[in-house]
Symmetry: C2
Subunit: 197 residues, 2 copies
Amino acid sequence: MPTTADDLRRVALQEFAAAGYLGTSLQQIADRAGVSKATVLYHFTSKEVLLEAVLSPALDQLDGILGQVGLAGLQRGGQSRTEFLERFVDFLLEHRSAVYIFVNQATSLVDIPVVERANAEIELISRYFEENVGSVEEKVRFGVALGGAAYLLAGAPVSMPEPDLGALRTALLNVLSDLLAPSAPSRSTTRSTGTAD
Amino acid sequence: MPTTADDLRRVALQEFAAAGYLGTSLQQIADRAGVSKATVLYHFTSKEVLLEAVLSPALDQLDGILGQVGLAGLQRGGQSRTEFLERFVDFLLEHRSAVYIFVNQATSLVDIPVVERANAEIELISRYFEENVGSVEEKVRFGVALGGAAYLLAGAPVSMPEPDLGALRTALLNVLSDLLAPSAPSRSTTRSTGTAD
DNA sequence: TCAAAATCTGACCGATCGGTCAATTAGCCT
DNA sequence: AGGCTAATTGACCGATCGGTCAGATTTTGA
C-alpha cells in the first residue's frame, strides 16, 4: 500500500523528467498526487529535498554497481568490463527517468548537492573507461555512449514504438559494446536476440 | 559592429544553453547584455519570440542541408551518406549550443512552434536512416548517435579539456560513421587525423 | 534645423513561484 | 473515552516572473 510520500516521489519523478525540475511547480505535483501543496512541503521540507529523495535511489544503486565491480576489474581488455556494461545497461533501463534528469538537466541544476554527487559519479565512470589513454576519440565515444543512452531512454523525438524492453536491452548492450570496446567492435557476435528481423 | 539585437541573441543563446530556457529570466539576459529588461522586450516582443530568433538560424541551415542532399541520395549504401554525415557533423559543431537546447529541452518546451519545427526535422532525419528497415537496433543506434553527439558538444560532466575542434570533428565523424553504418563499422579506416596518439 | 522615427528606460501590473504557520482532522495507544 | 502524535489544509508572505506603457533620449533624413 503506497504511502503519500511514495505517491509524491513517483509523481515528482515523472514530472521532473517530463517538464524539467524548473518547469515543474510544487502545485502541479500536489494536484497530480491529490493533495495540497502544503502537504508536499510537510513530507519534503523543500523542493530541493524532494528532488534529492527522487534521485537518491538511482544514485545509491549506481554506487553499488561501481563498488561491486571495482576499479581494478575494469582493465581495458578485462572480462569484467562486459559484466559491468550489462549491469550498467540494466541500471539505465530501471532508472531511465532519473538518468534522464541527471544527464539533461545537470548543467542547469548547479549547487544542488544530489546533482553534484551524480556528476562526480559520472566522472568516475568516465575515468574507468579512459584509464591511462584518454585520446579525444575515446572521450567522444564515452560521451556519445552515455548521453546517447540517456537521450534515447526518455523517449525523445526519436521514439521507440513498442517499449519492448528485452529487445531494447539487447540493442543497447550491442551499441554500447561497440562504442566502448577498446579496439575491435563486437556487434556482429551478439547480433539478434529480441524481435524477429 | 554588433547591434543591440545581435548582442541579445548572442547572450540569450549562451544563457538558454547553460541554464535552460525556463531557468533564464529576461532580467538576466538584460543584465548580461548591459540593457534594461524593457529593451529586451522592445527588440523581441516576448521571451518565446527571443527563443525563436535564437534557434531559427540553426534550423534554417539544417533545412538547407537536408534540401541539398535530398532524400533519394541517402540510400543505405549510398555514397552521399558520407557526405551528408560530414555536413551534419559540421552543422552540429557550428550550432552546438542551439542543438544542445533542442535535444535537451525539447520535452519541456512543448507548444513552442520553433521547438516543434525542430522535432519534426529530427524525425525527418531519423526516417532517412531508418528507411524501410527500422529494426530496434537501428533505432537505438540512431538515437544514441544524435543524443550522444548533442550531449557531448555542450561540454557536459565529461568535459573536453581542450576544445580542439579539428580533432573533435574527426573523432565525432568516426564515431557517428560507426553508429550509422548499415553493416560494417568503418572506424579503423579513418582512425587518426588530429592529435598525435 | 527640426520633426519624425527608432531606441531605451523606470515604474508598474497581475500571476505564480517556493515556503511558513496556525489551526483542523485522522489515526493510534493505554 | 481521552490524550498524543502524525498528517493535512487554507490563508498568507515576500520575491520574482513575463509583460505593458508612457515618457525620455538618441538617431535619422529632408
